[in-house]
Amino acid sequence: MVRWTRRFLVGLALTVGSVAMLFPLWWMLVISLESPQRAAAAAEGGGSIAVWPKDIHWSNYPEALRQIGTEPWQGFLDALANSIVITVLVVVGTVLSSSLVGLAFARMTFRGRGPLFLLMLATMMLPAQVTMIPLFLVFRSLGWIDTILPLVVPAFFGSAFFIFMYRQFIAQISESLIEAARIDGYGMLGIWWRIILPMCTPVTAITAIFTFIFVWNDFLGPLIYLHSDDQSTLALALNSFRNQYGGLENVHLLMAVSVVTMIPCVVLFFAAQRTFVEGIGRGAVKG
């Protein structure tokens, strides 16, 4: 009886917590499908709470997306393409560079390995705001302002947190696997590509998902470095849209753009959920 009561209370607490977490997302989805009047009333607080749309207005979506930027549709398509290019390059760059550096720290013996690793870890303590201005000056001197290079190139130099994760994971891999591959004729790069990287799938999933979510939703980076309309990312476009159509009468459109911006992250998370959770668990136990 006590067991059942405990299970019930735990279930209740989890349900309440889940509802509290998910309600804003659900509310965003509902408002995005409401009529302009009901959406505005709900947002103002004077109308219904809008837990379910009265009439589903799918037309809110094309209408909202068409109005992004100066040219109909063009602004949205440009922002989408830019976001995809930047995110994919940063994800690929982070996975490749972090795993390679992680392998070096885990398996290669070189002078100063320990101090270098500590120095690398120490960079995690630096807030982004500290490096923002020096980095801007460096990128400006390189002539990279208003290009995607400042957002993409640093990813190919590794990320301290993910290097740490890869290093911890690779350190668990049996040395004999690496030696077997050496005897099979592979050098360190071949071993990294053919043995280590495929075995690091859980860490790669975490790295890819975290990086994807961060870069896809990143507002500050693109705001600093991208100035032209045709260079804008979805996060920047969403902000411009909010400035342009931020009134309560257009809240349904704002929510529609917000939902579209959020969809890739949600889809990616559910697609990679199993590997992701496995990786988190592994890191927790062995890391």
Binding site: A181, Y186, M199
Partner: protein
Amino acid sequence: MAQVRLESIGKTYPGGVRAVDGVSILIEDGEFIVLVGPSGCGKSTTLRMIAGLEAITDGEIRIGDRRVNDVAARDRDIAMVFQDYALYPHMTVGRNLSFGLLRRRQYSSRLRSLLSGSYRANRRKETGAISDRVARAADVLGLGDLLDRHPRELSGGQRQRVALGRAIVRDPSVFLLDEPLSNLDAKLRGEMRTELRRLHRQLGATMVHVTHDQEEAMTLGDRLVVMKDGIVQQCGPPVELYREPVNRFVASFIGTPEMNFLEGVIEEGGVFTSGSVRIELPKGRWPSVSVGQQVTLGVRPEHLERVADSDAMFTGEAEVVEQLGDRTDVILVNGNHRMTARIASGSGLREGDSASLRADLSQAHLFAVDDGENRIATK
């Protein structure tokens, strides 16, 4: 296949630990040699130096006619089987077997064939040749049905066979086996020993096997190399090491149960005395021993027989009686002395009973106490 020559090789780790010291062995073409010794004796380090996984501090290693001290592991034409199998977990058995071969395809010839337009045909030919070799290796080891499985789906014995297959498929000059049976249970270990012997016969390969299990070493090796503290103690055929161990360490390491040792002194009339134990040594068998010399008498358990009290060399109380079916191992205790005897089963001896033993002194050994515990020569 190739001859392997180790000439005074040594290994000193940073910090000054000398793991291997002046090891010289000539491993003949097609020979199955076993490096055996306790943990930390340097046997695995020696093997890894042959493989090229460990740098050599001094000495020279030759595989065939080639000096390989500075040759990378991948260019030594060796294959190694690891203690934990080292199968690539994300690859199927078939892919594990072909992995090394795929790497060894000649890039220069591939480039030439690409330029000459025969790339596809050559690639098909290469892939076909690799598939044939994988199929042959799988056939030899009975892995045909497992080629599409991943290592996690295999039993310990199957994984071991895949690890062997990965070595066989490469057709190397030398096979290096680093305690490949130690992760298997006793029954599988026995089966795999037989399998290894069969493979060695079938392939006629030069094999260097490392183990700490002397029984495994005795059953597998054409010759054994017993090591201790990085130094070769004795190298020879198993029976030679069993019958004529050069020192007390080899005598104690080879043979199960371990040889019995009695430390004592030679007295007038060639009588060996150790406390209350007095044994008259055969006249002239050890001509170099002298009266008053401190020696250790070594007698193997199987060279002791149970006798009547009047004929006894050693009498004691049975502390442990292990019934092994076809024979019985008994540990007799008398004061500070402890003797293990292997006697016929059905003797009716029980723990706590008194028993008398007599040694076959023609098979016994004397070891000098003051001379590195080396065996004293017999006539």
